[in-house]
Subunit: 475 residues, 3 copies
């Protein structure tokens, strides 16, 4: 059976006419605002080289762990989806076969945000008007494949069509940012900036930590085997990233642990960690403490250089070791875990939390912390703001819970607008559209409850869709 | 004052007309589907012997801890409700007096699912049309008492009237399944199967663990004092249960801890546990580790014999020691506690989580794990599925929270339909009716939000009410 | 821009007409009921002395940490808001300047309960009809300032106008209750009672614990250096508070830990704690255990003297040490933290939980415990009741979550009505109004869902707004 593909103009709006009408009007006022994308994982080479995207499977399945994790959960081998193995052993190469697997199993995505994002891309970008299914798989494949060869579907053309005002990618301190340089040199007006993600040189558990420090020394000319040299090297790279356009740093840690050691303690810890990692016997406690200390060091550097600091804790990375060993990182095997913020952040906040010039944006994968910890913390500390609902919670219900649990204690102005946090470039407008709709739904509810006046809601709708992100990330 | 007892046809449906109309239509399509009851605690002797149920108090109050725990919480002694004491000391024997206590305090159940289930039984089974109250207590007593003596109210007749396609009971490996055998021998067509619940022989803290192992040895002819003999005895009983119709196992553990020890470690642990329990000094750590190891062993056996595995962790059993000592187990004193899944299940999942042929159905009493842990785990591991909202959360609001927090990450097809999990046989249709209504409400919301098309919702409504349970439990 | 200030008669009611109409009718039946305020922090000297309240800033900003914490979170120094420093260093003294800061930043409160409470006070008490803003700051200041000088705005006049039937303040056992005595002596009919809050003499970590015990000895004539003398002194003060009108005790502990030591163990612990505190080396474990033991002792005394016991655990006090050192306690720096009840309360409940005459009212700052722990505990133990949503959760969304997560397991009759828990006297009617509205919204939903009949909802509306608090607190 072939179903029509309809993107209803009222999608995600409440069924009740009163609040739906308010939501519609609010949404109308923000839907065409430019996109601010301050945190994400698009590949800067796309915009530097401006080559056509690959075939439908390479574009929409292979890089999107939201998509293939669901298929995998129902027993479809990752090999059959063309996911590359670490040892190079054979996987499916035929993109049509891979595409057919998605089409045959598209019902699995009912009720998920992936379905919304994909349908929006299919409809708005590829002008498809029937639903993806076994029967329509070929139609889809050919349509997408042929469109991707046209100049209007090159990365820069899409960037412009999507009305992106600025997008941030995320790079390691060891990256030479050549793609960003190429974009700057090209004269193209699209604003693609980087963000400083120092996990590879801050986290003793990161693959290749010792080599990474050596490489950091080489790049910066600093002696990263000493604590002062290591800090100087980090300052050096932050400065380079800033010159290349970065306005923020990003820190993905297993927990929110922070520390505030004396200089002597920190130096001793650094030595212990470097020796331990080299010798293969760095203790879990030292690694955790070092990550925690480095968050505080990064916050101090942010006070100096003005880079906004993002902390993304709470993911148990590579939970499925079997998949990790065969396919590597980022294969949908990262699972959220319970995260304490109140005790964990105390050392950092005692050190720098009262600095109004500092801006730390906190994310969580543990929704229980919204009303219990994050909103009370952000509703008090001048340095703290709350990032939007993230990753597994970057969805209509997740966004609703975020606003319902955060607003009453932290208000709107301790939040920072939306992050799409995606490597799925084509879905960026769809993701921002969902966020704008859900924020308008929340505002419409406050208006229809008479908790907020309508003209205030219009102001807020624009703030949430555009101004807050621009201000919080200094864009 | 006497209030009418009305079961409104639109009960639990949203007030908004648009979504209510969709919910109604969806519900209409599933309300008469046969009941699949894959997990519960009805007594197989009812169907084997087919004798009349007892008086109203014996049928509806004494066995239902949902009912008497609420009365007890308001200061009504369990003795006055006829709950039997361990030492045989006297309790109320007059079923009319016990019934009157429920009637006098029926207002306590306002807003609870017990009220819905009881009202539905009163109305649909006993054709009562006034609400239970002090004034109507006698009317109720006499009506129920007289109906129970009629042949249409015998267990098998009700089973057929309730349109139950299959029901699973739960038995210990030490049970000889004589009632199930009698049902099979009787030629009656009702399908009543067992489920394998090995806690008495897997959990060192279970009352009589040592004796239970001895009994297991006797039944199976295996030497349960050795690790290989113990495992062989378990395999033997699983096979027997399977021959008697079982399609699943069930494991009620205090936590979700699992382990994956080497054979030598497991064997040593088994010896330590057996000796410790005999000597009365088995450590809590060993007991916990052994339960955890046995979950992994059970999962491995499930791969061999195809029995679906259910894990129900997180209940602090017999929290009220005063009540436990006087009245024994299952007296409403079990309290949920915080439950970690991400770390706890990792050893088991590393061992068997990628087996698409294995099916592990997980339940939780800790709703915070829905969006943070369970949906992400089930949305990735092929072997994992999520059981429905359970026990304290087996209620309209609990079901709503389950769908809202699980669907976006795990979808619908990593869930397994509804379980009534009850020993209150008469309430089974009422419980399935609530679940079907609430699932239709959720689907109606997705349709009215334009997240799902209406014909997809019809497919899903049938899947959630019937197909998923049948498929997940191989029924 | 100047916006009108409108308190819509339907505020907080659902947009849907069916349920809104029910909510309206229910609310109409309870909105004018007298206010029962069984737990709060108003200053008894106001009613004893009946002097005019200060200027607008002194009345509405300086004492309200909900208000200044939000301003502080956005970088506004507490000094500029006139918050007094510990060392007496200079802060802003001009109340007009302070008021202007609130006015200029009033948009920060959009979507918060503070906004609702303030607007209600502005509109209902001060008859203002434009919204607070930079432009209207002077108008506001002058209106409030002039009204406060009029006799109708004296504390007792407002008490009567607010239709307060009884209000409880909270005092230390070391307080001589002179203000309460003065009120009793005055012949004024307003009922202002105290509540017994013994943290200063029960908590080894409380500032001045040793001195507090000495003072307690002096007041009571008991030897508080011995365990029996200490207990006798506490009994003595409880009796005094009771004679002065108290019907309850209140306990603010960092966790819900309780203990049930033997008399000998308790006595030894008491000695260890007293010596440890004097010597400055009381261990954290001993302090925690002692607080836990004292909760059980207090519960036992409650069985003797009939005082209702309130437990408020789970706040990490003075999280921001920088602010604490400069400005002291209660400056918006208390942050909720994860709280276990199931294990923590077990010793106390084993000792006294089955006493139907005892009444322990539990509060939480950790909403995850509502459905998982608190409702199951209160739905079983005769001695336990649940306090309303508290502090950060004392808000429309917080109240909604409370009812949704608690009702199905604990029903309505294991809850105790509303507590305003405030020192912001003028906002008391607004707070009760929000609670009454939100309870009516919840009842209206149950009625429109056909889970409850309308006349039952009317009974419940009155119970929740008035009867339950009166009964639970024996008022």
């Amino acid at each position: 059976m072939t179903r029509p593909l309809i993107l209803h103009p009222d999608r995600l709006f409440p069924a009740d006419k009163v609040s739906r009408d308010i939501a519609r009007k609010l949404y109308e006022s923000v839907k065409d605002l430019p996109i601010i994308s301050p945190h994400g994982h698009t590949d800067p080479s796309w915009f530097a080289e401006n080559k056509p995207f690959g075939n439908p499977a390479n574009l929409l399945i292979r890089p999107d762990h939201y998509v293939f994790r669901m298929l995998y959960s129902q027993g479809i081998p990752l090999e059959s989806l063309g996911i590359r193995t670490q040892d190079g052993s054979e996987v499916e190469q035929d993109p049509r076969k891979i595409w057919q697997l998605l089409a045959d199993n598209y019902h699995l995505f009912r009720g998920t945000p992936s379905r919304t994002w994909l349908d929006t891309v299919f409809h708005d970008v590829f002008e498809l008007d029937v639903q993806l299914s076994s029967e329509t798989a070929d139609l889809y494949y050919e349509r997408i494949d042929s469109y991707l060869r046209q100049p209007e579907f090159l990365p820069r053309a899409l960037f412009e069509r999507f009305n992106i005002e600025v997008i941030a990618t995320t790079e390691s301190p060891l990256d030479d940012l050549r793609h960003h340089q190429k974009i700057l040199d090209s004269g193209w007006k699209g604003r693609v900036i980087t963000a400083f993600r120092p996990d590879p040189v801050l986290d003793p558990d990161f693959e290749g930590f010792t080599d990474n420090l050596a490489q950091l020394a080489e790049i910066t000319g600093e002696d990263t085997s000493t604590w002062p040299g290591y800090l100087a090297a980090l300052r050096n790279r932050r400065e380079f990233f800033k010159q290349m356009g970065a306005t923020s740093t990003d820190h993905g840690h297993p927990t929110a642990t922070t520390a505030n050691l004396s200089a002597a303690e920190a130096e001793a810890l650094f030595r212990r960690v470097c020796e331990g990692v080299s010798a293969g016997n760095c203790s879990a406690e030292d690694a955790e403490l070092f990550r925690g200390q480095m968050l505080t060091e990064m916050a101090r550097m942010s006070i100096e250089d003005g880079l906004v600091m993002q902390i993304h804790p709470g993911s148990f990375r590579n939970h499925n070791k079997v998949v990790f060993e065969r396919f590597g990182r980022d294969k949908g095997c990262d699972i959220p875990s319970q995260t304490d913020y109140v005790h964990a952040l105390q050392p950092l906040l005692e050190a720098v939390g009262n600095e109004p010039e500092l801006s730390i944006i906190l994310f969580t994968l543990d929704e229980t912390s919204y009303s219990r910890e994050l909103a009370p913390l952000a509703g008090h500390y001048p340095a703290l703001k709350l990032g939007p609902s993230w990753w597994f919670h970057d969805s209509p219900e997740g966004m609703r819970r975020f606003r319902e649990q955060v607003t009453e204690t932290a208000g709107f102005y301790n939040t920072v607008g939306f992050n799409d946090d995606t490597r799925a470039f084509l879905s960026i407008p769809a993701r921002h559209d969902v966020a704008r709709r859900m924020d308008c739904v929340w505002l419409a509810q406050l208006v229809s409850d008479h908790r907020l006046q309508e003209d205030e809601a219009f102001e807020l709708a624009t703030d949430l869709a555009y101004n807050l992100a621009k201000k919080a990330y200094k864009l």
